[in-house]
């Protein structure tokens, strides 16, 4: 494990100790992965013959800045029959505006395919 890695909060992981947790100085964001780290892992995945895993890590990097509730909500929106094509496009626009371009594209694809395959909200 790399000891000079930074968490999502940018705190160095070496500062995350049992003692610091006990003092209440640590939040979950300190032990959450940083988007730069996911970008690095994407390179590793690609170098090891799995561009799809790399793509997943890059989508994930975009999602790091979203709250747990938002992520869970977007997941639910993609489940069958939950959203109209327009709902999905609206989320795509929101994501695009936040710089989450790859996820935005995923939602646009979903809007298209769901409409064609009857997977949108009735």
């Amino acid at each position: 494990m790399t000891e000079n890695q930074k968490g999502f909060s940018s705190k160095n992981v070496s500062e995350v100790t049992v003692e610091a947790i006990r003092r209440g100085d640590i939040t979950l964001d300190d032990v959450r992965i940083h988007p730069d780290t996911l970008a690095h892992q994407a390179q590793v995945a690609k170098a090891n013959g799995n561009p799809q895993l790399a793509a997943n890590f890059l989508r994930a990097a975009e999602l790091t800045s979203l709250s747990d509730e938002t992520v869970l909500g977007y997941y639910d929106a993609l489940r069958p029959g939950r959203s109209t094509a327009q709902d999905l496009l609206n989320i795509a626009n929101t994501l695009q505006a936040q710089g989450a371009k790859i996820n935005a594209e995923l939602f646009r694809q979903a809007a298209d395919v769901y409409a064609r395959r009857g997977l949108t909200a009735k």
Binding site: K6, G7, Q41, N56
Partner: protein, 744 residues
Amino acid sequence: MTTKEPIGRFRFMNEQRVNLDGFATPAPELGLVAFNGPNDPAPSLVITAGRITELDGRPESEFDSIDSFIAMHGIDLEVANEAMAINSLDFARRLVDPNISRLDIVRLASGMTPAKLAEVLSLLNAAELVIAMTKMRARRTPSNQAHVTNRSDDPLLLAADAATAAAFGFRELETTVPVAADAPSNAVAVSIGAAVGSPGVLVQCSVEESAELALGMRGLVSYAETVSLYGTEQIFTDGDDTPWSKAFLTSAYASRGIKMRVTSGGGSEALMGGAEKCSMFYLEARCVALARAIGSQGVQNGGIDSAAVAGAVPGGVRSLMAENVMVMLRNLEACTGNDALMSESDVRRTSRTHPIFIGGSDFINSGFGSIQRYDNMFGPSQWNSEDIDDFLAMQRDWGVDGGLRTADEEEVARLRRRATDAVTAVYSWLGLGDFNKAWADEAVDAAGSKDITSGDLMLPLTAARTIMDTNVTMLDVITALAENGFDLEAQRCLDMLKARVAGDYLQTSAIFDENMNVLSLVTDPNVYSGPGTGYQMTPERQQQVDTIRQQRSVADLLSEQQSFVNKNISELGIAEVSYDPRDVVIGVSPATGKDIWVTLSGLSVADVIGELLAGLEEEGCVGRIVRINDTLDLGMIGLTAARLSGSGVSVGLQAKGTALIHRRDLAPLANLELYSVAPTITRDLYRMMGINAGRHAKGATPEPVRNPYSDEAIEARYHTKVVSLVAIERMCVSSQPPQTLVVT
């Protein structure tokens, strides 16, 4: 129609456990066929202007959502034309050719369609699948996963069993719940237990997709697996997901630095009535292609909950293993099923697992039931706690690393106590609930939840609600552990959180070793290229596999015999030839009453001699005990004794209990009666032998006593002991003349 009772041979066969299993006549229209369903397409791929416009016979306009996702994300267009042009038989042969590297194969497979890989893998026979698995799995070091659950979601028992599973070597623990709302409590209890058992054990709690992710976000579990894929759009939708929602979910896990793999398995679509006239294997090929397409690092497959469906049709068990190899071809982590019990027959379930055990996979079982069958809330596993010693013996038999190791009883007892202490402290400190000592004592000792009578069945639910309502995270659990003196466990739980920051365990096939090193496709790649290459056990690991707790040495046996020393057997001096016609010598082997005191049947040698003497006495003969020191051969012992005997008849006895009746005019290897199966000879039989020896001495021809035979594996039980006992006899052989013994 009158039903005729079958003949005895068939009545007997019908009673065997294998006939509890369901066997289906193949019904391709229902998807009840392993390979080559009527609607399975021929492989095809058309790329037009950089996009896939036909996939396995289907034009883009007819793509369902699965086809669409695979076409958009799952096929490497740079190699697709080259890969699809390769003859399938030629490619199948490459899978077993040690001179063609795994990397070459995964590069080409990434350009192949589902139907293409299904066609390739259907060409491998069982032995070839073993070689392909050995060569193609991603991680060099094999490993294993355990189920840790119980009927009452008892947190103390969960923690004790998690620590136990870790002690036996499992590197992933999967729990689930009979009561959905208990899940957070289970996640906490199993995480604590795992940390007690070993550093670096991954933990998951299998529940509904959103709930499972939420547990991961709080740090309460360290990986996810129950993210299900299906091979037809209808069943996928019935599962309340689409390829896009699953792709997003996959990224959601990665965004929190949490390892995940998806789950699929042949037969699930047929089981749910939506196979669309396709074979189980082709539909699974779609799932595996989709798993790669959505960016999952791995797949749990090999039937899983529908393994018994695949097992019911011809070739179905082979197709389950071929599913696993397909995952490996897609360069993904393979968690190879062998979880849901697919047969009532021990022979069939072993047969189903064995090739995978031999070939080695990232996780041999995607859930070895480390607990009792009745406590397994996934349903009984293919392998369960009663099979752990079998599995360890199989590892030792074949020199195979199946991921398990022998655990010392005292150490497991200590870990179980510590696990229950830790859970008690953490639950109390966080206000989740209070356990009493009687409950904890029962949990430490319990082989299963039925052994626990002091539990409070409402506690897990209350604890789980409190965890959710007060937003307990792994940081709180770590604090509670540290505040209560469980520093080691606090650090281990923290190390699992920190692993998320590094993200190295998000790579394909990642596990942690006990020093928190990540072993994965990246750090521990499988580079098998024939004998002497690929995974080799370290001397330490070999020692773990070889040393099971049941093994015994000659020294162990010698000291065991020493605990039965009988001071009432004493030596009187050199034995002479007798001329008394009533005299019958009982010739005993060199170690009798010297280093060996108990026979294989558990009788003391003094008791055996006592029965022989009593039998002789009943016939009016006088028995005389003589130790023959210069041979351990029973025939020679008997003959030597007969030559000292006044009647010319003797009984020969080896200390392990084997006995015969001999006469001085016979050849050494001839005899009048032989009791060869020492472990089954009872007091009554020795008495009978004494009587018969007396009758022979008087010139009569008694009816020989029959050796008792049973259906027990006598040789398996006793042959190792026989080797040691014979070795002890040999150590006692000397040129000393025959000695008279007395038993007082």
